[in-house]
Amino acid sequence: MRDILDEAIGAPPPSTVDVDRVVAAGRRRTRLRRLAMVSPAVPAVAAVALAVTALGGSPTAPTSPTPLQPGAASGAAPVYDETPEQTRQRLAAALTDGLSTALPGVTLTDGPTGQAGVSITASDDLVLYDSDTVLTTGTGEGELFFASWRAGGQPAYQTSTPLPADGPLPATWIDSCSGAPLHDALIVDGYRMVTECEQSVGAQGQTIVVTSQTCVDCPGQPVVRRDAYVTWTNARVLVAIVNTLKRGEPPATTPTAELLLTKEQLITIASDPELTVAA
């Protein structure tokens, strides 16, 4: 069959796919994705910027993934003795549980591949575990970004440091509303956005900062993006929910729908100790 189809296709014209441009676009998208995830309201340099620092310790212990130190009200996340693969599975299961509880019947799809379920990717140095998941319910569609850092207390990146030309980008982090850039004018896709911030302390002593982005030019002024930054003493978790425009149904450029997750639901999911990678 392939031969028949190849014969029907014939000789293709010269390719117009420029691999150098592909690589450049890929680099740009990777940077934008990371920066957009952690700081929706500002460009690359945020008011508060901490880098993620790997802590010591072997990530490849062979035993079952059970917490060695249960999280207490001290704000410390539990430490699991597990392999990286077990970490990925634990995070995927916890995120799936959290989303399914908040949104019964939700369909979860990996954003980049379209495959079913939550797919967690680990960075080479096992500092960052993240995912990009499309949520589909009977009422709409949204995209959820999740990132869990094995975090140390030493900021290795300052706002005055130039962005590197290549390699991993530093991550900005907001651990208090006083550090959130709320007064910056922000235009997204031609719409004016206003960012609000709320700060609280979780049951285990973790700090929770939630930023909500409202489209003031959109009908009904919906919140179109919400990020929950959860800071543990030994870990950091970010969960962001974003509106996805309904494809193919004009007008497809005006965000009108409310987010699939409420602020409380987002906080409940993001502050789950099972979503941490502590050390």
């Binding site: 028949i4 014969e7 796919v17 494809r247 193919g248």
Partner: protein, 166 residues
């Protein structure tokens, strides 16, 4: 992405470029759009290269991205018109379907049925892999593929005979 990873990415792209372009052409039957789809696919692949390399079957992973790129592209309301930096000297005419024109008949298939056939018989993916990519059951893949083959049976046989008699 580290330098050695980018080198691996480029190596993979060079080895698969022709196959990806041909696959994209089978979806959209237009080389300009096919190259756009391949470009979109490769940017996404670059972005998730580490994850892609962890996939059980990297080619299947990439064909999944390509199939979704095409299905998404054809949903866009602006897909019928787009701006270009330079006007092409010649515009490719759209060939009307005729008996024996396999590609024209393929283009007349409903999108997901077309995708089933391309993934199964041009990309050599299994029923299970095709079902996972398209987010449908294996039974749906089988039935969609059977209907697609039924529609193409005549022209495919004609081409097969012609190639054997050449």
């Amino acid at each position: 992405m580290k330098a050695h990873e980018e080198a691996e990415f480029r190596q993979y792209v060079a080895a698969r470029m022709d196959r990806l372009r041909r696959t994209a052409f089978l979806y959209c039957r237009n080389w300009h759009t096919a190259d756009d789809l391949v470009g979109t696919t490769l940017v996404k692949l670059y972005e998730h290269w580490r994850r892609a390399q962890q996939a059980e079957n990297l080619d299947a992973y990439v064909h999944g991205i390509l199939a979704h790129a095409w299905l998404d592209e054809r949903r866009k309301p602006w897909r019928r018109e787009h701006t270009v930096e330079d006007l092409p000297e010649q515009v490719q005419p759209v060939t009307p379907p005729r008996d024996g024109d396999l590609l024209a008949l393929l283009a007349e298939l409903p999108p997901r049925r077309r995708a089933c056939l391309v993934l199964r018989f041009y990309c050599d993916l299994s029923v299970e892999q095709t079902a996972e990519i398209l987010g449908v059951s294996t039974g749906t893949v089988k039935s969609q593929t059977a209907r697609a083959l039924e529609a193409l049976r005549g022209p495919a046989a004609e081409l097969y005979d012609r190639s054997n008699n050449a």
